[in-house]
């Protein structure tokens, strides 16, 4: 169980996240929705501690995540894997090495610096790629792949961290419709198959409705909606998205993902 209590983050005098409290039971696939700049990304980054909260508390199964330091903090980061909009792979390294980077927390510094991966780790990484049907490209450089392939490599990297939770920050915002499907299906698979909790920032309401068990709506850093997707009426959506509402709704995701529309608009 992940618990956020009164979480606040200020950037200068701008409040990005404003008193967010949330409880996420293990195994849920939660969509975090809201317009761009609402604070969704900052919220997810705080959970992984890439960003430190200004105040408030993050707790996971009794661990005070906000107080973690050094080795404990790195161990927590391995448990709460992140997926990024820009994939954040190392372009010049091959795919398998990129996936193996998910094991870094569990390998000694000396062994990892010399790239002395154990056979188990290599098998694990290959199996993770196999999960998403891309084991065949293990030897290719990450920068030579398409966006959809890169994001699947990133999910494989997250998976070999053997995480309790995956935090996906706009994972499909730079992908075309077909790859959007593939990546969202992959995230759902990770959730259903391995019971890993997934928190996913999404811009597109239709995707959020389709894939998530629960939606959390954020507006100006505050939680303004928290319920099952069915409860999200058009009225609430309009409040959540304001002028962007028409872009994110009634637009079949298979034709145009919200990201593309938002960029075009």
């Amino acid at each position: 169980m992940l618990r956020l209590e009164g979480l606040v983050k200020n950037f200068g005098d701008k409040r990005a996240v404003d008193n967010v409290s949330l409880a996420v039971p293990a195994g849920q696939l939660v969509g975090v929705i809201g317009r761009s700049g609402a604070g969704k990304s900052t919220l997810l980054r705080m959970i992984n501690r890439l960003v430190d909260p200004t105040s408030g508390r993050i707790e996971y199964d009794g661990i005070d995540v906000t107080a973690l330091q050094r080795a404990d903090l790195r161990a927590w980061r391995a448990r709460s894997a992140m997926i990024f909009q820009q994939f954040n792979l190392v372009g010049r390294l091959d795919v398998l090495t990129n996936v193996l980077m998910g094991r870094l927390n569990k390998v000694s510094t000396t062994r990892s610096v010399l790239k002395l991966w154990s056979d188990e780790d290599k098998a694990l990484a290959l199996a993770a790629l196999e999960q998403f049907g891309i084991a065949g490209i293990a030897a290719q450089r990450a920068e030579s792949l398409s966006g959809g392939q890169q994001q699947r490599v990133a999910i494989a990297r997250a998976l070999v961290q053997e995480p309790d939770m995956i935090l996906a920050d706009e994972p499909v915002a730079s992908l075309d419709p077909r790859n959007t499907r593939i990546v969202m299906d992959a995230l759902r698979r990770v959730n259903r198959h391995f019971g890993i909790t997934v928190l996913c920032n999404l811009h597109s309401l239709d995707l959020a409705r389709e894939y998530c068990d629960r939606l959390v709506g954020i507006s100006a850093g505050r939680v303004v909606f928290d319920d099952v997707p069915a409860a999200l009426t058009e009225h609430v959506a309009r409040e959540l998205y304001g002028l962007e509402a028409d872009e994110v709704m009634d637009m079949p995701a298979s034709r145009a993902p919200a990201g593309v529309v938002a960029v075009a608009a």
């Binding site: 992140m82 190392v90 010049r92 870094l104």
Partner: protein
């Protein structure tokens, strides 16, 4: 609109002209303050030509190229000293680059959050590259005695200082997304550097190191002036004892060597950069 554009261009021209005037004025002032006398330069310019003219004559008075065997009489010894010089430059470059490599990450703002540590490393690197190699060499000759060791150490320290700074700048220009990705997956600082930073910077580092090797060959050539090994010893002796044709012979060998190294490293660097772009 046209007039506004013309005015903008005129203003820019005026600024450029003003900048040039200031630049030249400053040059004139520094010449005056440091007593660089243009008149003296004009009076004695002939002396330089005369010196070089003399270096191109053998003791018999004949032009050097009429008797290459006599001109390059010491080629065996000079060749050996030249190899020494190259080895001093090579060793100093390799060791200095390795040291600079390890220090550059600590000097880079995007990787080292601790200000005091970054400050300390940067000032240290600065000190290493501000003191000229030849000064280090002199000090080390006093400490370790004559021979190539002081030369290697002097080049090592200077290279470490210069490369550490240059490498740090390369590191500060990397794409930080992979760094974020590695950090978020629980990697430690050393692991982040190894996997997310080094692959991005390695081609540039190699290219700069080759360039540095070229510079260090020139540096090593004068190490002998202060007794720190290599061909410089013979060169300075030839100059002081007025063995004119020896001066030109050693310079010829040196220039030819540096040219060959220039060509080789340039080719290597282009290949490295080509691969960097792919």
């Amino acid at each position: 609109m046209m007039r506004a554009y013309a005015e903008a261009v005129a203003a820019r021209r005026a600024r450029t002209a003003l900048g040039l005037v200031i630049l030249l004025l400053l040059a004139a002032v520094s010449a005056h303050v440091s007593e660089v006398d243009i008149g003296k330069f004009v009076d004695h310019i002939g002396g330089v030509g005369g010196y070089f003219d003399r270096t191109l004559r053998l003791e018999s008075g004949a032009r050097v190229w009429t008797d290459p065997a006599d001109w390059l009489w010491g080629w065996k010894r000079w060749g050996r000293l030249l190899v020494d010089t190259l080895l001093i430059a090579y060793l100093g470059t390799v060791l200095g680059v390795i040291a600079g490599f390890f220090l550059c990450f600590l000097a880079a703002e995007n990787l080292t959050r601790s200000r005091p540590l970054r400050f300390a490393v940067r000032r240290f690197l600065e000190a290493c590259r501000t003191v000229p190699e030849i000064v280090f060499a002199l000090v080390f000759v006093v400490a370790f005695g004559l021979g190539p060791l002081p030369g290697v150490l002097a080049i090592l320290i200077h290279t470490m200082g210069a490369m550490g700074k240059l490498f740090a700048e390369v590191v500060e220009n990397i794409d930080m997304n992979p760094v974020e990705g590695a950090t978020a997956s629980g990697a430690g600082w050393v692991q982040v550097v190894r996997f997310a930073v080094v692959p991005q910077v390695l081609p540039n580092f190699a290219s700069y190191s080759l360039l540095r090797f070229e510079i260090n060959v020139r540096g090593a050539a004068v190490m002998g002036f202060v007794g720190a090994g290599g061909i410089g010893q013979d060169l300075v002796e030839a100059i002081r004892k007025f063995h004119y044709s020896d001066v030109s012979a050693i310079l010829l060998i040196l220039i030819a060597t540096v040219m060959v190294i220039d060509l080789l490293t340039e080719r290597l660097r282009h290949r490295l950069m080509g691969r960097g772009a792919a």
